[in-house]
Amino acid sequence: MAALTTSASATPPFGQARRVGLVLAFVWLAASPGVAPGQPVTSSVPRVMAEYRIKAAFLLNFVKFIDWPAEESRSRSPLTVCVYGDDPFESLLDRTFAGETVNNRPLKVTRIRKWPENCDVVFIAGTERDVRNVLQQIGPGVLTVGESASFLRDGGMINFVIDDRRVRFDISRSALERASVRVSSRLLGVARTVLK
């Protein structure tokens, strides 16, 4: 190797050994039975996944496990999930929510920077600075989801936590009741902790 690296002449950049190595790599990549990117993994639960893919899937479940009021005025408009401030999901939320409906209402994802907005769910990223202030402005009937340590103390309803490298969530029952948001008992059952 030393000869190769020190040579200043026009030595071929790939020696024989490397070419063999590359061919082997080629064969390995082409033949390896495990390489099946893109194949849906429906039969088994994936072992690891990016944090925000998991959170996006959770958010979809939250939306589905809420008893949304069946008012005539709202039932025709899309159910809107708002991301307040910086969006850590990038395009993941849009992809996860694409084509989904709840009570025949299509789901829509928007990013907002101020309140009031027409949202049914507000997700506030952990990078947001003044969570308490934002939460105070949000009126009843809107589900608030966050991911910061003091989110429930600040008045939020559902908070993502990372526990043992898994995404879990805590629920504040009092915040849900104050805002008249009704969630399924199944959601309460899966929550890591339910605060009174």
């Binding site: 690296t5 490397r18 690891v48 990016a50 944090e51 998991i54 395009s91 600075r129």
Partner: protein, 683 residues
């Protein structure tokens, strides 16, 4: 080791030699095989997202991967990595990128004058840090002419930075060339996160006036931003009263982030900038007066544009294509260089069974034109094209689920000035509990020759009476510097409120750059006849460096966060057999402080006030005649009710001025105590 595709740089360039044909065929085959497999899948129906089929209970059981960006802070990463977030950047009060880097353990930053810094990682601090790779959104800003980074030209809006990742130690496996001692990776925000108007204005005694403006808009599918920025900075403290180093820079730029489909994300961004800064140099000439100190303005400008296409095929497979063009024009008092760089990168990330694989290819061609300004500073030939072709492969293998992971990989690189370098690395991470990680790594890395080692010809008058000139000669006989690095680290969340991390390293460098003298010759032309002592750039020095970084973060109260770090580097250099180098060993051992430490305390105060205090102590730099110093920075921020933010910043407060580095002729320049007040408006 792999904090996300977006942030990864895989530089390269093509030595178009005859035998590359077969290489090309094989590489193309590889690429096609992979893509064919990927494209051969049934189309990814969005509703086929596996996660959507899962119950809440199942979702609660999935482990977060440490691979994709934005996941939990690099806790399991088997490398000495530090991440500085946008919030930390804003709260630091720093006005420049080098000032931000002072807060990161293991990074040695010393300011030379108003516009120049010497930055190193784990030693090797220098005005052009040739062993540190710096990337902005994957675009390398490392210049191959003198091998290093011109910090005065890099004009990212600090407000637009999403995070800065610094990997200390040989990060060569993934990151591309010259990442021998580390990588500094600056990642800007998506245009989706910068919508609305933003104006920031302020001024002070050093940062005399600065104005930044940004407007962002668009929909969730396609967002854009445009920005403009400019500043003028005053000189530092000069004992001789020659305040030559004022600095002005202006820049404009844009970024568009567009979601082309459910799976495709396209980013196009670009910047244009220009500026000037005063400098002082000693110029030698063959005709009398043979040596003179000159002061004047260095001028620079440049443009770059980059496109990044990110496609997600499935949760287990994603690819990224990136292409950019970067033009720089830099004119100092003793040379001018115009460079055009074209770069293309491809990265594929896939996971299956126990493997998490990232591989990629890169090609770069960078023609440059060196203009002679004085007859004693030459590049031969003046026109040169620097090419790199590189490939990398990395596999993170789960040995024991949740507990033990082995990462192996290598980079292969071919450049204009070196043939075939392999840079393998093996890293192991052990996570006995969810609160702690221990890791260890062995890496081989190389720094390949730059144009300076290939064609630099620099003459300097040493004895006016004789007259005798010293002449540095880069003649292409330099071969890559080599490093075998041994690293280990430990991270522990000691409680819900505390984190400590320790990184240790022992690096063994061989074939480091040296200057080897040969017998003095008489040179009749150009007239008058003069003597020359040739100093040829060779590989005559070896060195060992040993040290580590200890860092800690404690949330003492919900409103009070304390961070601290201590960094140690002990460098021991020696001649390799046959070397007669007289200066390099002293520089290597004496240009970087052995000890440095930073303590930063941030307080969230009532009524939307916040306060940041930072204290740093930095050891002596004997080769630059610089003594140890300590100083402190303070920032008070206030977030008004409306769209207004205010800040007052004091930097280097403990003395009127202190010296951090030499690097210019004449008396050492003091870095001034400075004050800055600014106002920000967002809408």
């Amino acid at each position: 080791m792999t904090p996300g595709l977006q942030s990864r740089g895989a530089p390269a360039g093509i030595p178009l030699l005859a035998d590359t044909f077969w290489t090309g065929v094989v590489v193309l085959g590889l690429l096609l095989a992979a893509t064919a497999r990927v494209f051969g899948q049934s189309p990814t129906d969005p509703s086929a997202d596996p996660l959507k089929q899962l119950t809440l209970e199942q979702l609660s059981q999935i482990e977060i991967s440490s691979v994709t960006k934005e996941s939990v802070p690099a806790f399991k990463t088997p490398a000495a990595i530090s991440v500085m977030t946008s919030e930390q950047i804003q709260r630091s009060g720093a006005r420049t990128i080098p000032d931000l880097l002072r807060l990161i353990p293991g990074v040695n930053v010393a300011q030379i004058d108003s516009s120049e810094w010497a930055v190193g990682i784990r030693g090797f601090q220098g005005k052009l840090s040739r062993s540190v790779l710096v990337l902005i959104d994957g675009r390398t800003v490392y210049t191959p002419l003198f091998a290093g980074v011109y910090w005065d030209m890099q004009g990212v809006l600090l407000e637009d930075i999403a995070r800065i990742e610094v990997i200390r130690g040989p990060g060569g496996t993934i990151w591309g060339s010259n990442a021998v001692n580390g990588v500094i990776n600056i990642i800007t925000k998506s245009a989706r996160d910068t919508r609305g108007s933003f104006v920031s204005a302020g001024g002070g005694n050093v940062d005399q006036a600065s104005l930044q403006w940004r407007y962002g808009g668009g929909s969730d599918d396609t967002s854009y931003r445009v920005y403009g920025s400019g500043f003028t900075r005053g000189p530092m403290e000069h004992p001789d009263g020659r305040n030559f180093d004022d600095w002005r820079r202006g820049s404009i730029g844009f970024r568009v982030d567009s979601r082309l489909s459910d799976r495709d994300e396209l980013t196009i961004q670009g910047d244009a900038y220009g500026g000037e800064a005063g400098q002082r140099l000693q110029l030698s000439s063959y005709a009398p007066p043979s040596i003179s100190a000159v002061e004047g303005e260095k001028r620079f400008n440049g443009e770059n544009v980059m496109a990044t296409w990110h496609r997600t095929f499935s949760p287990a497979s994603e690819i990224l294509f990136r292409a950019y063009f970067d033009r720089t024009d830099r004119q100092e008092l003793n040379y001018r260089e115009i460079r055009n760089t074209f770069d293309f990168d491809f990265i594929h990330h896939l996971t299956f069974s126990r493997h998490d694989i990232t591989w990629g290819l890169g090609a770069r061609t960078s023609p440059s034109h060196f203009f002679e300004t004085v007859p004693t500073v030459l590049f031969i030939p003046p026109k040169q094209t620097y090419n790199i072709l590189s490939a990398f492969f990395q596999d993170e293998i789960t040995l024991v689920p949740d507990k033990l992971a082995l990462t192996i990989g290598s980079k292969f690189e071919y450049t204009t000035f070196s043939n075939g370098n392999y840079q393998p690395s093996a890293r192991i991470a052990w996570t006995p509990t969810s609160k702690q990680t221990a890791w260890a790594a062995v890496t081989r890395a190389v720094r390949t020759a730059s144009e300076i080692e290939d064609g630099f010809n620099f003459s300097f008058l040493a004895q006016p009476a004789t007259p005798l000139y010293l002449r540095l000669i880069g003649d292409g006989q330099f071969h890559p510097e080599q490093l075998i690095g041994y690293e280990a680290g430990y991270r522990n969340y000691v409680s819900k409120r505390g984190f400590i991390g320790l990184s240790l390293f022992h690096n063994r460098y061989t074939d480091l750059l040296s200057v080897e003298s040969s017998p003095i010759v008489l040179e009749p032309s150009p007239l008058p006849a003069h003597f020359v002592l040739p100093l040829r750039l060779r590989n005559g020095v070896a060195a060992n460096s040993t040290g580590g970084e200890l860092s800690a973060i404690f949330d003492i109260r919900p409103w009070w966060r304390l961070r601290g770090s201590y960094s140690l580097v002990i460098l021991d250099a020696r001649h390799e057999p046959g070397s007669n180098d007289a200066s390099t060993i002293g520089q290597l051992e004496g240009d970087t402080p052995r000890h440095s430490g930073v303590v930063q305390s941030t307080f969230q105060l009532p009524r939307n006030f916040d306060l940041t205090l930072a204290y740093r102590a930095v050891g002596a730099v004997p080769d630059q005649r610089v003594r140890a110093y300590s100083t402190a920075d303070v920032r008070v921020g206030w977030r008004g009710r409306g769209p207004w933010d205010f800040e007052v910043v004091g930097q280097n407060l403990l003395q009127p001025a202190h010296v951090e580095y030499g690097g210019t002729p004449g008396p050492l320049i003091g870095i001034k105590r400075s004050f800055y007040a600014g106002i920000k408006w967002r809408h």
